[in-house]
């Protein structure tokens, strides 16, 4: 299935070269962390993750066409 991963500009600046928007083909039944790994984002690099307009955890199951928005980890100010 195809999903889209969008990352914030702040996150893009953390890892230069990371596209702000990536379309991915991932296996059916994949979860959020699978998509983020495929997009080049390992654990520790993401903070709040949205699927559509809802906050989602790393183990949330994805559906075809989902848009995943990734914010940077919180920085404590």
């Amino acid at each position: 299935m195809r999903v889209t991963v969008e990352i914030s500009k702040v996150l893009a600046s953390i890892r230069p070269g990371l596209a702000e928007r990536t379309d991915l083909d991932i296996p059916d039944g994949a979860v959020v962390s699978d998509a983020l790994a495929a997009a080049g984002l390992e654990q520790g690099l993401w903070g709040i993750v949205l699927v559509g307009d809802r906050v989602a955890g790393a183990t949330a199951t994805l559906s075809p066409g989902d848009k995943i928005t990734v914010l940077p980890p919180v920085s404590g100010g």
């Binding site: 953390i14 949205l50 920085s75 100010g77």
Partner: protein, 617 residues
């Protein structure tokens, strides 16, 4: 002058003299506001050798051009002085509503000099400025003081107040504002206490004129709209900064048991979710802030119920995991004690954790502690120790001078695990597995604080074991993040919700009428960074590389457990980090700006002064 109130208010507490000085184009243009104004006045007016707790020190309370203006969270006030914790320049900022009120009263900054003859507070209502005696407030908790002054003066007054720790000049005493927000770092509360200044009360009825109101409204409305449309805003409104705890633990950065560990087995009990579900009462926001990260909470302990704003991440890390407390409610109670006593929760938590480790190692005993069983996990011990610190009694006396001084007093090898740089206790990110963050702490201009350059994600992104290339990112952040403290605006909307920096670049000309690009502003931020460094060079003949060293624990003890078990950074790695950093900054290998660098940054007179002293080449 657009974006500014246009005046500096100077108050001499020794003589009672009050004067208003016009804000000059030079100061506004070159130092922007907030921390920039603080650095300017402290460098120019506090000579080398000044006792930080003497009348010769000056406290600068400054807003920035974005403070009090219609844009997201123009809420930041900077407090600057020579720090009693470090003996160097120090500053700390605070949210809430003080900066806005200060500008509405007609002032961009207060410069407070001398020492009042008796306990006093500074009353400001537009042009009416008075130093008022307040013996009845002396000894009162910082939040109780704020409430008492609001009861007396009215809710429209914005108050900044100290507690007993500030009165007693504990070097990490905080300044409270807005019922539970603190300028915690660098002992600004002790500076107020040294001046017999219990509080500052401000009310203003004027406005701030901007250069391009239509342009400002356009950009600000876009910013508010983008933030409102971000579903992550709800998470921030729910948990605030407390949500950092579980992430920090997951990547091996959560200070645990006096930074011996960076993974806390009980972190879930301290999480943002538990804060929300177990103790949260209501949300609270600073001036014009849509995030409302302030979380008013309730805590019960031994039959007493208290209310406190917090705990946010730093407090949870330094008081919670670092002292191995068992629940977020325990952290909240300890948070309340620190706030009311007027102690920085970062340095206060670190001081208690240091005491607990010394006690468990037998370096100090119950005879030293006055009977306190100072073991990790004990909230009762925490409470008793911070009371002693605030009163400077018993073990509280050496601790009141910071963990560096306490280690010198107690010996027994405790210097190795007194977790500080330059005398300022390390904030909430254990960094043995994050060289960028380690360097950020080592080189932070005020001591071991995270907010100048929060770089852990850079380590994760480019490789946690890599050393080469890390310094450039740290420097970039050290110019960008403090720029927000100059502008007088909160950076959370940028760093946490991803609001692009371009918005702030567009705001600046709309507010001030100045056509500086963002890069121009970053150049000014670099100037301020170097001016602060120059303060240290002027202050001490031996100031330099030795002041940029982390505690020995971090390069001699591997991480014992958690996701980074076994990792540590080497002494050689630290030297490589510093060499690269100094070279990129145009400093010599002893960490001193060269004359050429200072001149490039428009600090020719500073270069000449330091050259005349033989401090730089």
């Amino acid at each position: 002058m657009h974006g500014y109130a246009g005046a500096i208010l100077r108050v001499n507490l020794s003589t009672g003299a009050v004067s208003r000085e016009p804000l000059t184009e030079d100061l506004a243009s070159n130092y922007i506001g907030g921390r920039g104004f603080g650095a300017h006045f402290v460098y120019r007016e506090v000579p080398a050798g000044t006792d930080p707790l003497g009348p010769g020190n000056k406290l600068v309370v400054a807003a920035g051009p974005f403070s009090g203006v219609f844009l997201p969270s123009g809420a930041k006030t900077s407090l600057s002085a020579k720090s009693p914790a470090t003996g160097l320049y120090g500053d700390s900022n605070i949210g809430g509503h003080l900066a806005a009120e200060l500008k509405y009263a007609g002032y961009d900054a207060l410069v407070i000099e001398g020492k009042a003859g008796e306990p006093s507070y500074l009353f400001i209502e537009d042009d009416r400025v008075e130093v008022r005696p307040c013996a009845k407030l002396w000894g009162m908790g910082s939040i109780k003081t704020e409430k008492a002054l609001k009861d007396e003066l009215g809710d429209e007054f914005q108050i900044a107040a100290i507690g007993p720790a500030g009165e007693n000049m504990v070097v990490f005493a905080s300044v409270n504002h807005d019922i539970g927000r603190q300028a915690g770092r660098c002992g600004m509360g002790a500076v107020m206490g040294s001046k017999n200044l219990k509080a500052i009360a401000v009310r203003g009825t004027r406005t701030v004129h901007v250069a391009d109101m239509a342009g400002l409204r356009k950009v600000a409305n876009e910013m508010f709209a983008v933030l409102a449309a971000n579903p992550a805003l709800k998470v921030w409104q729910d948990q605030g900064l407390a949500q950092v705890t579980t992430w920090s633990n997951s990547i091996g950065a959560l200070p645990t048991r006096n930074f011996r560990q960076n993974f806390y087995e009980n972190a879930e009990a301290l999480s943002g979710e538990r804060m929300r579900s177990d103790i949260h009462v209501r949300d609270k926001a600073c001036f014009a802030c849509p995030m409302a990260t302030g979380k008013y909470c309730r805590a019960r302990h031994r039959g007493e119920t208290v209310y406190v704003e917090g705990p946010e991440y730093e407090t949870t890390a330094l008081i919670g995991s670092n002292c191995a407390l068992g629940s977020i409610e325990e952290v909240a109670y300890a948070n309340y004690m620190c706030d009311e006593l007027g102690l920085d929760t970062i340095s206060g938590g670190s001081a208690v954790a240091f005491t607990m480790e010394c006690f468990e190692r037998g370096i100090i005993t119950k005879e030293d502690t006055g009977g306190i069983e100072a073991r990790f996990g004990s909230l009762d011990a925490f409470v008793e120790i911070v009371k002693l610190i605030a009163a400077r009694q018993g073990i509280g006396e050496p601790l009141s001078r910071g963990v560096r001084a306490a280690a010198e007093a107690w010996g027994g090898g405790s210097e190795d695990f007194a977790i500080q740089v330059k005398g300022l206790e390390w904030s909430g990110y254990e960094s043995r597995g994050a060289p960028s963050m380690m360097l950020a702490y080592m080189t932070c201009d005020i001591g071991a604080h995270h907010n100048r350059a929060w770089a852990i994600t850079h380590d994760i992104a480019v490789g946690r074991n890599i050393i080469k290339g890390k310094a450039a990112k740290v420097i970039e952040l050290q110019h960008t993040r403090p720029l927000f403290d100059c502008l007088g605006v909160c950076r959370l909307q940028w760093v946490e919700l991803g609001l692009p920096l371009e918005y702030y670049a567009r705001l600046y000309p709309a507010v001030t009428g100045r056509q500086d690009s963002w890069d121009d502003l970053l150049d000014k931020s670099e100037r301020i960074w170097n001016l602060v460094r120059a303060f240290g060079v002027r202050e001490r003949a031996d100031f330099g590389r030795a002041d940029d060293q982390p505690p020995r624990r971090f390069y001699t003890e591997p991480v014992p457990d958690g996701p980074l078990a076994g990792s540590r950074i080497t002494r050689e790695d630290l030297d490589r980090l510093l060499d690269e950093y100094y070279d990129l900054r145009g400093w010599d290998r002893n960490g001193r700006p060269t004359a050429k660098t200072l001149e490039r940054l428009g600090l020719r007179d500073v270069a000449a002064e330091l050259q005349a002293l033989g401090r730089i080449s």
